[in-house]
């Protein structure tokens, strides 16, 4: 052993790699150490750490990439586990893995209403290995930034759409104890006492808020808004009759409706929903308002076109795959597939609707 610690450093470290020491050198050092202080566990620790260090270099560096994909793909989500975006991603990931031949891993990065995760996707290296399942937040968050005069956290044109995977129309549910039996009765009552009926939403500017605002605009009525901390609390608020109605995904309100706690009055899609065949659409009732809770596959705009085409082909096959369809059916979500060329105008239209609605809501205080 050297006399001083600094002397030891100078002798041992300079010229010798700190990492990847050969086993015999480490053992020699340790043996010298053990002649001074002799617990045998030091020898064991040496061997163990040498093994650990070496094992990290056992993974070979990246091979030359001439075929895409040649390493695992990450689906980076801005939403936490359990939400519809997450379940959609988890439904399609194993199928994509089978088709593409590489592991497809899901990473949740929730925070700031999908802002943190979405920004992470936008800023990721555009090599095609980071994709995302996203929804209205791509247009919503920049629109909200604009309302508050903040510089936008990202913009839509940082993202390239690959395909639309699902689009479920929102359904307007009322608490079963409320007197309205049809949507028209609700509208008439709302016109008689504007601003008195309370609706719940999962959060300011969220999808359940925008849906109702679009319905209100279509019917020319005014209601009072009760923002809550998310879809679950909004549902609870209506179940407890603290708010009279909410716009919810069919799978969310479905079990409650079938148990008789909620009554569906109208759906906001172009067609009626399969699980609620008796519920009319707003269009049928004569009101022009549509709203979908949708999920699509996206990646960065700078990703080369050939890679995007590989994804497009993979998704086209995945949405027909029985495993995927079964998984989606189980969570009560339909599938609505649109390839990129059809999806882009659809997305642009939906984004414009989102931006217009947010602008119309404006600041609430």
């Amino acid at each position: 052993m050297m006399e001083t610690a600094s002397g030891y450093f100078r002798h041992r470290i300079v010229g010798a790699p700190l990492v990847g020491a050969q086993p015999n050198e480490t053992d020699a050092r340790a043996k010298r150490a053990t002649t001074r202080v002799a617990p045998t566990h030091r020898l064991r620790m040496t061997g163990l750490s040498a093994l650990l260090v070496l094992s990290c270099f056992a993974a070979a560096p990246a091979r030359a990439e001439d075929k895409f994909p040649s390493r695992p793909i990450t689906i980076l989500l801005g939403y936490p586990p359990g939400g519809s975006t997450d379940t959609t991603a988890r439904a399609i990931a194993p199928v994509l893995e089978r088709i593409l031949g590489e592991p497809v891993v899901i990473q949740n990065r929730p925070g700031a209403a999908a802002l943190v995760g979405t920004q992470a996707v936008a800023n990721a290296v555009p090599d095609g290995y980071t994709i995302t399942v996203a929804t209205t937040q791509l247009a919503l968050l920049p629109a909200v930034d604009q309302v508050f005069g903040r510089p936008p956290s990202f913009s839509r044109d940082q993202f390239a759409p690959i395909a639309l995977i699902s689009a479920d129309p929102s359904i307007i549910f009322v608490n079963a104890s409320q007197p309205w039996r049809t949507f028209q009765e609700l509208v008439d009552d709302a016109k008689k006492r504007p601003g008195q009926i309370v609706y719940a939403s999962g959060g300011l500017y969220g999808t359940t808020h925008l849906a109702i605002e679009i319905a209100l605009k279509a019917t020319g009525t005014k209601m009072r808004h009760l923002p809550t901390a998310g879809g679950g609390p909004a549902l609870t608020a209506v179940l407890g009759n603290h708010a009279a109605l909410l716009a919810a995904h069919p799978a969310v309100g479905g079990p409650q409706a079938r148990a008789g706690a909620l009554r569906p009055l109208a759906t906001m899609g172009a067609k009626r929903v399969a699980s609620f065949p008796d519920v009319p659409t707003l269009k049928e009732l004569g009101y022009d308002g549509e709203y979908y809770q949708w999920n699509g596959l996206f990646t960065q705009a700078k990703v080369p076109e050939p890679i995007i085409d590989i994804y497009r082909a993979a998704v086209a096959k995945a949405v027909e795959d029985p495993e995927f369809l079964q998984a989606m059916a189980r969570v009560g979500s339909g599938t609505e597939y649109l390839d990129r060329d059809a999806f882009r105008p659809w997305w642009d239209a939906d984004s414009k609707k989102t931006e217009d609605t947010v602008r119309a809501i404006g600041k609430v205080q």
Partner: protein, 502 residues
Amino acid sequence: MSETLHNLLIGFEVVLAPSVLIYAFLGCVIGTIVGVLPGLGPLAGISILLPLSYGLPTTTAIVLLAGIYYGAMYGGSTTSILMRIPGEAASVITCIDGYEMTRRGRAGPALAIAAIGSFVAGTVSVVALMLLAPPLARFALAFGPPEYLALLLMGLLVLAYISSGPMPKTLTMAALGLLLGMIGIDPMSGYNRFSGGIHELTDGLGLVPLAVGLFGLSEIMLAFGKGAMQPVARPRLAELMPSREEARASVGPIWRGTVIGFLIGIIPGSAHILSSFVSYAVERRLSPHPERFGKGAVEGVAGPESANNAAASGAFVPMLALGVPLGPVQAILIAVLTMHGVAPGPLLIAQQPQLFWGFIASMYIGNVVLLMLNLPLVGLFVSFLRLPYAYLYPIILVCCIVGVYTVNFSMVDVLIMAGAGAVGYGLRRLGYDVAPIVLGFILSPMLEMAFRQSLAMSGGSYAIFFERPIATSLLAVGVLLLLAGLAPSLRRRRVDLKEAHE
């Protein structure tokens, strides 16, 4: 009643199958590992292991995930007691007296009491869950924003009983915590408050970085020198278990904590975090020697630990009986159910009895497994403390970094922890007790939201607080408690004045 027992037996039959039991055990072990690490809480544990559950049959998947959840709740108290680092939100209060017990060489008894209390509370509340889930769920639904506000205002009263210091200091720290809770996006108006343009701050400072920094980091910073942080004497085997006095003193707090925790747990929202705080305050108020609290009173461990386990079970009531998730953990469990084709909802209990009863049975089993796991581990955990301090504290620091980072994979959280550590150190050197900061931090966003939601419902009218029976009665109870709390000090002041005059 016999039907219930019959159903329960069916549930046990499902769960006691070896294939399911293995996963219950696995879940508890993983949950304990996850819970022992500061920061990485039950939510992270479950979301990480969610993919593992896909290939499994439904009941097994739920049993695994519930085991992780419980394991994390049990494990979270370990770091609180041994190192004053809260394992997760619910264990913050355990840091106060639990750690003081460790400093007095009573780490083993503290861990044992925490495990036993959690077991009793968990088992009893599972029974309550089993018997009363549907009517309790209906009661829970009646809690809207005004009722919630009344409840939280009572939570504010609890603040005064959390700290053993003089009232002006306690109130200052509480106000500081309340103010820090305002940082972040305002959910009612969309404005970003005090976040300085940092995106990661829009969800607020974060309870985990704040608590780990204020409690754990500041403790390491203060404990400088030999003999710091280690039990004074090397504990013998007999001293790993609670003494007869400690055991007797814990009985009342455990029962009270169970009831308090369960009732608070069934209420929708994040109120269940309050359960341990309320239990601590109640125990302190009821104790004939309140000055022992903050110096290693076993009641300060028994009560809160029981309360937070009971609240964890209580939080499942709305999920199972109504299919409504009241927190992120329940949201994941519901997602797992839906992915297996089970639609959670009010009809779940009727339509899928083997799932409901299997879940109930797995909660019993989980509690037993965890007790069996944790009691022998007490000795192991305590001996961890006997590492030379020079090695111990860097390892703990690393655990803090990892634990806090893995909550959101954000380095901003680690920075917040460092900042909270510096602030906590400064405040403690200046003579303040930092515990009320954490409670205030949790309360203020909920308070503000409940208040403004109530006004949104009523269109601006304050009458709403007096038109609803539950809200009004809770407010009345709160006022009575406040007066009851002030009365002794008023009487004392009058006595002092009288003595001054004589």
